[in-house]
């Protein structure tokens, strides 16, 4: 059932963002062309320069910004409207658990962020490819040289960091969901209460983390020995690796706590109207 929920959430995502992603691709290509042939071309000035050189660039930036904002709005809206608005009369009577509902929405939000991120990178590359294919070629030529510097430690750190970002993103989504669920408990002005809840949660979490900081001082020194038999360029590998791992753990615990709290509210305190 979880897969089916994701199918529909994702479908709504594609409907809204599909055209935008295509627009991004189109504008990237156009801009690649216009930057090279209009802006770089000294002989085109005045109105023509603005219309065909500057405008496409502005449009591209506006589109990127719009997509970023809309993604955030989409995540909030799909949860709020989809589970707690009139649509809730449909979704909350489907033969599906509340855990599955939250998970499906969170996974879709995650995929959306992932795709947006990839789209941004692809856009950038596309623009460069059209503008000056030579730059792209150089980048690809340089890559093998970079790989020579990367060894086990660097890879581990990169992977750890990536995991941290991904878990962090899920955590952020859960933070939003919990705030919306808390707002739902109020009788009126639920949106206002949700915003307040969002801030409150941020404050509470950061306070808890600050309180836990002294604990870090009690981590034994032995954990921080450095491994330098590999002669790597990164000397303080171990402490950084442990710190990132710790951060991932904390983030995961917080995200899980938010998940269970949201689930409790949806399961036991639902009151649609």
């Amino acid at each position: 059932m979880l897969g089916k929920l994701i199918k529909y959430d994702f479908r709504s995502c594609i409907r809204r963002f599909g055209p935008l992603w295509l627009g991004m691709v189109a504008l990237a290509v156009i801009n690649g062309f216009t930057i090279g042939h209009v802006l770089d071309n000294g002989s085109i000035t005045g109105w023509a320069q603005f219309a065909f050189g500057v405008m496409p660039l502005i449009l591209l930036i506006v589109l990127w910004t719009a997509v970023a904002i809309m993604s955030l709005v989409f995540v909030c809206e799909r949860f709020y409207k989809g589970l707690l608005g009139d649509e809730g009369y449909l979704s909350m009577t489907l033969p599906v658990t509340t855990e599955e509902h939250i998970a499906a929405k969170a996974i879709t939000a995650f995929l959306l962020e992932l795709i947006t991120g990839i789209a941004a990178v692809v856009n950038g590359l596309l623009l460069i490819a059209v503008y000056r294919p030579a730059i792209l070629a150089e980048i690809f030529r340089a890559l093998p040289k970079v790989f020579r510097y990367i060894d086990g430690h660097v890879v581990t750190l990169l992977i750890e960091y990536l995991v941290f970002v991904l878990v962090g993103s899920v955590g952020q989504t859960m933070h939003i969901y919990l705030a919306i669920c808390l707002g739902h408990l109020a009788k009126n002005h639920r949106v206002a209460w949700s915003l307040g809840a969002y801030v409150l949660i941020s404050v509470v979490i950061s306070n808890i983390l600050t309180l836990c900081a002294p604990l870090l001082n009690r981590i034994p020194e032995e954990w921080f020995f450095t491994i330098d038999e590999f002669g790597t360029h990164i000397t303080a590998f171990a402490p950084i690796a442990w710190m990132i791992a710790g951060a991932i753990l904390v983030e995961a615990i917080v995200a899980a706590a938010f998940f269970f709290a949201s689930n409790y509210i949806l399961k036991n305190r639902l009151n649609l109207e």
Partner: protein
């Protein structure tokens, strides 16, 4: 005939208001039952508890022996008193959704009914008129061979022609082995369709009897009896 719905001591508070007061109710299968009462008598609250949208404050409600949850939701076909279509969906999407989540959904039947209304799968639901949307919602709900149909005020705020269409759709499509619970305050329009009537007043059940028995016993229609019993409130 088995017990499909059993409520005991079912109570629900909303702040200081008692919406359901110690409700004891048993509904058997194979019946069309009217949940009758004025606005605010607790009809919607009872229905929401049965389909899992609300939790009781105390007491129990069981559907087919189960507490409301995913398993009971699979056998309940619910028509709320409002539109519940996601605004991004097309007609075809709703069909897909019902087919994906409900094993008892008869897609062919639903598509026939929608085609008769002139609906196409690619039509965006947002563009349909309110009346058409309501009809479509009804059709989807009635295309399921459910054990329990919960219809919350299906004919309120609807013109007489549409009312007939709605009653016809319900009668021709419901699963005769199942039970239909129709809540309304417009009794004269649905009385002839009911097997049993349940009167709900301020969260309490004040009557639960077969319609034929009411007519034989009182010499009046259910509508007339209702007006009498609820005179002050109407």
């Amino acid at each position: 005939m088995s017990e499909l719905v059993t409520c005991s001591g079912l109570t629900r508070w909303f702040g200081q208001t008692k919406a359901l007061d110690n409700v004891d109710l048993t509904l058997t299968s194979g019946k069309i039952i009217g949940l009758l009462g004025p606005n605010g008598s607790g009809k919607t609250t009872l229905i929401k508890i049965l389909n899992g949208l609300l939790r009781p404050t105390s007491g129990t409600a069981l559907v087919d022996g189960m507490e409301p949850g995913p398993e009971s939701k699979a056998i309940i076909s619910y028509l709320p008193d409002r539109g519940y279509f996601p605004d991004w969906m097309r007609v075809g999407d709703m069909m897909d959704l019902f087919e994906d989540f409900y094993g008892d959904f008869d897609r062919a039947k639903a598509e026939d009914m929608c085609r008769a209304l002139g609906l196409k799968s690619e039509s965006s639901i947002k563009t349909l008129s309110k009346g058409t949307r309501e009809k479509m919602q009804l059709m989807l709900v009635m295309s399921r061979k459910a054990k329990l149909y919960l219809l919350d005020e299906p004919i309120a705020g609807v013109d007489p022609a549409a009312r007939e269409f709605i009653m016809q759709t319900i009668l021709t499509n419901y699963n005769e082995d199942g039970t239909v619970l129709i809540s309304t305050h417009l009794i004269s329009d649905i009385e002839q369709v009911l097997d049993e009537a349940v009167f709900l007043q301020q969260g309490k059940i004040i009557l639960h009897e077969a319609v034929d028995s009411i007519r034989e016993r009182t010499g009046e229609s259910v509508d007339a009896l209702f007006r009498e019993m609820f005179r002050a409130q109407l």
